[in-house]
């Protein structure tokens, strides 16, 4: 094939979408990349580094990994003791598995509560949808701390719930809910419910209703329509919503701290204690590193399903 001798190198370089040639291109990509690289990615390396150090009475309170001990000699001391401790000590292991368990259960409860809500909003008359959705988002915009705090007043021994139950005569002794795992579950489900409703709503509203009509036409009853059509098609939303709850909840601090008791072990709370009370930065760092590794799998799942949901968007 005869081709005009317009050099391939030149052409290859120019054969980019129009906007790519703009002078600002480097800046548009570079600035956010540099920012996130510096303030999001790089810090993780420091977490890894400090997790291998030993605590010290110094400012900052940890030893250097690399020390110059004169005559050009360099001593590198890596301390894997923290990781060994995390595995051996039932306290830390318990906190890790406890966090995962609490996160998993509350994710499930969030989905069970959020799915019908999202479904109801998506099937509501169109002029109702926006106000209903706004009502779900509204609490999300008010202070998280204050919303968790509200539950203290409700759940405590002489709080609103107990007073109400005593008044109705259902119980004759106050229930002990605050500072128990139940209170933590309530707090988590309450705080994270909007995170499942929104993605679920987004997938349900995109669902082509003629698919259900087609299923009905082919002899499918409403309940089966839901099981065979609606549910499978909303699966990306279910997974995205579930991960949006699960991942941050594993590392949650505020809720177990305010609503949980001393026996509610969660890794985020433990990290806080090690850092602020015990001033053991290396141990806190190794906890963070372990948490990070644990969360990679659900994070990859989230990315995968978000991309999938994005591709299926018409």
């Amino acid at each position: 094939m005869k081709r005009f001798p317009f050099t391939a190198w030149d052409a290859g370089r120019r054969a980019m979408p129009l906007l790519s040639r703009l002078k600002g291109r480097g800046l548009i990509i570079g600035v956010p990349w540099f920012w996130l690289g510096l303030f999001f990615l790089l810090p993780f390396l420091f977490v890894l580094k400090i997790s291998l150090a030993e605590p010290a009475l110094a400012q900052p309170p940890y030893t250097d990994l690399i020390e110059v001990i004169g005559d050009g000699l360099v001593s590198i001391s890596l301390n894997f003791g923290n990781y060994v401790l995390l595995w051996d000590d039932p306290l830390y292991r318990g906190a890790l598995f406890g966090s995962i368990q609490i996160a998993a259960v509350s994710t499930l409860v969030c989905l069970l509560l959020g799915y019908p809500m999202a479904y109801a909003i998506a099937r509501a008359p169109s002029h109702w949808r926006l106000p209903l959705l706004m009502l779900v988002i509204l609490p999300f915009w008010t202070s998280f701390l204050i919303r968790v705090y509200a539950w203290i007043g409700i759940l405590k021994g002489n709080g609103l719930l107990n007073n109400f139950l005593l008044w109705t005569g259902l119980i004759d002794q106050p229930l002990e809910i605050l500072h128990t795992p139940l209170a933590v579950y309530i707090g988590i489900v309450y705080s994270y419910l909007p995170f499942v409703v929104l993605p679920l709503y987004a997938t349900l509203i995109r669902l082509d209703l003629t698919l259900l009509e087609a299923a009905a036409d082919l002899g499918c009853r409403p309940w089966k329509q839901f099981l065979l059509i609606t549910l499978p098609l909303s699966l990306p939303g279910v997974i995205a919503g579930g991960m949006l709850v699960f991942i941050p909840v594993v590392g949650e601090f505020v809720i177990p701290d305010l609503l949980g008791g001393p026996d509610t072990l969660m890794i985020g709370k433990l990290m806080w204690t090690e850092f602020f009370s015990n001033k053991d930065w290396p141990l806190a760092s190794s906890l963070a590193a372990v948490l990070l590794v644990v969360l990679i799998v659900p994070f990859v799942a989230l990315r995968h399903f978000e991309q999938k949901a994005g591709e299926e968007q018409p």
Binding site: P32, W35, L130, Y149, I154, P194
Partner: protein, 290 residues
């Protein structure tokens, strides 16, 4: 469909009661005369008065607002750039890593973000001497980092839904790329930027964990003050503060909601009108061609 609706309605009512009950209880008890939250001792606004005299709390609130405003502005700029990069430039080196880095902060536990940034700031101070201390600057940087992720998501979806031939048309008519951005792109994504700014503002205003890690001795934000007071138990002053926050946010969200609702209504009316004119247009032309 109809038969199942009562069930769905029950779920909705229950769901909203669950979401709003606790907030309502806070508001009601902020007007309680008694310091004891459990006993209703009559209507009073005295806790609001005390709130206004709490200098520590007011100072923290002012600091938080300052941090939130600069965070929101910075996050909108960074988030818009990231969204432009991801939507407009299909292929570039580092695209995948940028995509991951803007998604990760959305779900990353705050304790990790807080601790890792603190370690970075400490290391930077040791090696290059900046930031010289920790406080307002470090909190703002930390907040911008996670808030920009939210802004990116919002702006990204707006940009992706924008007809790209609008920008091409402007280029074709002789506008240079920078001008195209300011005359075409920016006005069209302005609502998304506004929403992003507000979200970043509230996220920053609300943050306890990250701020606690990266803050220094001099800088105590509002959530930090609230937290230390809340740990001691329920206090009517905090109830009053909560009521004010809820009120402000509700009014803002309500206004935004009404604006959105009206816009949708107007769009609908215009669509109806459009359909009518189109029908008339066709009829008219059919007549003319006869």
């Amino acid at each position: 469909m109809k038969r199942r609706f009562p069930l769905l309605l029950t779920f909705l009512v229950f769901g909203y009661a669950f979401l709003y009950g606790p907030i309502l209880s806070l508001i009601v008890y902020s007007f309680n005369e008694s310091r004891l939250v459990t006993v209703w001792a009559g209507f009073s606004t005295k806790w609001y008065g005390e709130l206004l005299q709490n200098d520590q709390l007011l100072g923290a609130a002012w600091l938080s607002v300052k941090i939130a405003a600069s965070t929101a502005t910075g996050a909108v700029i960074l988030g818009t750039l990231a969204a432009m990069a991801l939507v407009r430039f299909r292929r570039f080196r580092g695209r995948g890593s940028l995509q991951v880095m803007v998604t990760a902060p959305l779900v990353m536990p705050e304790v990790i973000i807080g601790l890792s940034l603190l370690l970075l700031f400490v290391a930077m101070q040791e090696t290059i001497g900046w930031p010289s201390g920790r406080g307002q600057t470090t909190i703002t940087i930390a907040h911008m980092t996670f808030a920009m992720a939210y802004v990116t998501v919002i702006v990204q979806s707006r940009l992706a839904h924008m007809d790209q031939s609008l920008e091409e048309a402007a280029l074709d008519l002789g506008a240079r790329p920078v001008k195209v951005f300011f005359t075409i792109t920016l006005p069209l994504i302005a609502p998304a930027l506004m929403a992003g700014w507000l979200l970043a503002f509230t996220l920053s205003l609300d943050d306890l964990v990250v701020a606690s890690f990266v803050s220094g001795p001099g800088a105590t934000t509002l959530p930090m003050v609230v937290y230390s007071s809340v740990r001691l138990g329920v206090s009517p002053e905090i109830n009053a503060l909560a009521t004010i926050i809820v009120l402000c946010v509700s009014v803002a969200v309500l206004i935004a909601g009404i604006l959105l609702y009206r816009q949708e209504k107007r769009a609908q009316r215009e669509q109806n009108m459009l359909n009518a004119t189109q029908a008339a247009d066709v009829a008219e032309r059919a007549q003319a061609s006869r």
